[in-house]
């Protein structure tokens, strides 16, 4: 029987002539938040690019809900599996247009709702993207990804530019997203606070899987 969620079978990835991931086999289940952690350069962000099909494995294969990832239409897959990059790249001059990049039919009411979800408030809708702080841009990036109504969120250090209050808000959003039937893959160094969000975890080291399982039992994360 096929497993729900992502299954990686001996996945390898080369980037810029270097081997980034090697022989990676893992299961990232549906219906929970999977924490992906490990030292810098372990290949965590590259894994998210593979799951969003921005990159193609040089070895092995990736399945989503039992079906090879390359069997999905890449454009609709990227809307279902939304990637929020660590560095938010703003693409337009206004918050309203930014939210509509991936969803041109987005109406003002839904746009305001998305901004509320990420704690920016509906008043941001009329603002320019000029002058947004790093944390505001990061939350706008998250709202922009949510606009495509994804089933799975791939988040690369989504709270790296946020203060404690905004971090708590994003944590709540993720918890609610998963409780509502969504799934998340969260790349984070901040293992202390992300551990409680995650129901599953992978530890990567030098492009290989070092540990996987319940976050509470992983050596890399230390004692709870």
């Amino acid at each position: 029987m096929s497993q729900a969620g992502f299954v990686l079978e001996g996945v390898g990835l080369r980037r810029g002539g270097a081997q980034v991931l090697t022989g990676l086999s893992a299961h990232l289940p549906r219906g929970c938040c999977t924490l992906v952690t490990g030292p810098s350069g372990a290949g965590k962000s590259s894994l998210l690019r593979l799951l969003n099909r921005l990159a193609e494995p040089c070895a092995g294969r990736i399945l989503l809900d039992g079906r090879p990832l390359d069997g999905y239409d890449p454009l609709s897959l990227r809307r279902r599996v939304a990637l929020v990059a660590q560095q938010t790249v703003l693409l337009t001059g206004s918050v309203a247009r930014e939210l509509a990049v991936g969803c041109p039919t987005l109406d003002a009411e839904r746009a305001a709702g998305l901004l509320e979800r990420v704690g920016l408030g509906a008043s941001f809708l009329s603002r320019s993207t000029e002058g947004l702080s790093g944390g505001q841009a990061q939350r706008l990036g998250l709202a922009r990804a949510l606009a495509t109504d994804p089933e799975i969120l791939l988040l690369d250090e989504p709270t790296s530019a946020l203060d404690a209050a905004a971090t708590g808000l994003v944590d709540d959003l993720l918890t609610a997203f998963v409780a509502g039937g969504g799934s998340a893959v969260l790349v984070s160094h901040r293992t202390a606070h992300t551990r409680r969000l995650a129901g599953h975890a992978l530890v990567l080291r030098a492009g290989r899987l070092a540990e996987t399982g319940d976050p509470a039992g992983l050596r890399y994360l230390g004692p709870s």
């Binding site: 921005l54 193609e56 939304a82 990059a85």
Partner: protein
């Protein structure tokens, strides 16, 4: 009409004194270009003599097939030269050659079909040569700018792709930037023609003794056709380069590091 002011071979030999002067200046300034300048001058002489000899045969006996063969060779060389500006862009030689070919065929065919020029070799070949040259410059500029855009704007392009936009939509803003830059020289040249410089075709006709008011008619046609050729070449280049830059899953290819200069 005055007699054509064309120098004899002694005059050409005398003009080599200017090359000697330029080489001397370069040597004194230690530019490291003296040898290059002398080789370039000698190459120009050799190439032009050879081209003139072949052209004389084509003009006399080639007819339309000979002209088309000549134009095809020009297109191939222009595509090769333009592609060298964009090393690392996937399929750059075929993209550049096809873009120059499309611009040349459409522009020259329009001029012939509308009766602006006829198909005698001594008309068709020089006119096509100007078109190929303009298309080559626009193609090279477009490829260079596209490469720079892909290098600097990869995060923006991939941000759009990751939101489910297709390659065309994700690349469109960057293709527009590249196209604007590539087409500006042709637009600017059209704006200032006659004000800043007397362009080649008009200068040639005036030197050959044609009245200026007659010479400008040819020049107007030349400027308009160069504008069209540059636009066609740049747009075709951007379109073809996009298909080479992205794969079927709308992923942006990795580009090799730019060549060291």
């Amino acid at each position: 009409m005055t007699a054509p002011a064309i120098p004899g071979w002694p005059g050409v030999a005398a003009s080599a004194a200017l090359v000697a002067l330029a080489a001397l200046l370069a040597a004194r300034a230690r530019l490291g270009l003296t040898a290059d300048m002398l080789v370039a001058a000698a190459r120009a002489l050799g190439q032009l003599v050879a081209v003139a000899a072949v052209l004389a045969v084509v003009f006399a006996h080639g007819g339309v097939p000979g002209s088309l063969a000549w134009i095809a060779v020009m297109v191939l060389i222009a595509g090769h030269v333009a592609a060298r500006r964009a090393r690392g862009l996937p399929r750059a030689p075929s993209v550049a050659t096809l873009a120059v070919a499309v611009a040349t065929v459409v522009t020259v065919a329009t001029l012939v079909v509308s009766g602006v020029i006829d198909t005698r070799p001594h008309v068709l070949i020089p006119v096509a040569g100007m078109v190929v040259s303009g298309a080559m410059q626009a193609t090279a500029l477009t490829l260079t700018r596209l490469r720079e855009e892909v290098e600097t704007a990869r995060p923006q392009i991939e941000a759009r792709l990751s939101l489910g936009l297709d390659a065309a939509a994700a690349f469109a803003p960057h293709a527009r930037t590249a196209l604007r830059t590539a087409m500006l020289p042709a637009v600017d040249a059209t704006k200032v023609v006659g004000l800043i410089s007397l362009p080649g075709a008009m200068t040639g006709l005036i030197l050959a003794g044609v009245e200026p008011l007659t010479a400008i008619r040819y020049q107007i046609v030349v400027m308009y056709m160069l504008l069209a050729a540059a636009t066609l070449a740049a747009v075709t280049t951007a379109r073809l380069a996009r298909t080479a830059l992205f794969d079927e899953a709308h992923r942006l290819h990795e580009l090799p590091a730019p060549p060291s200069r």
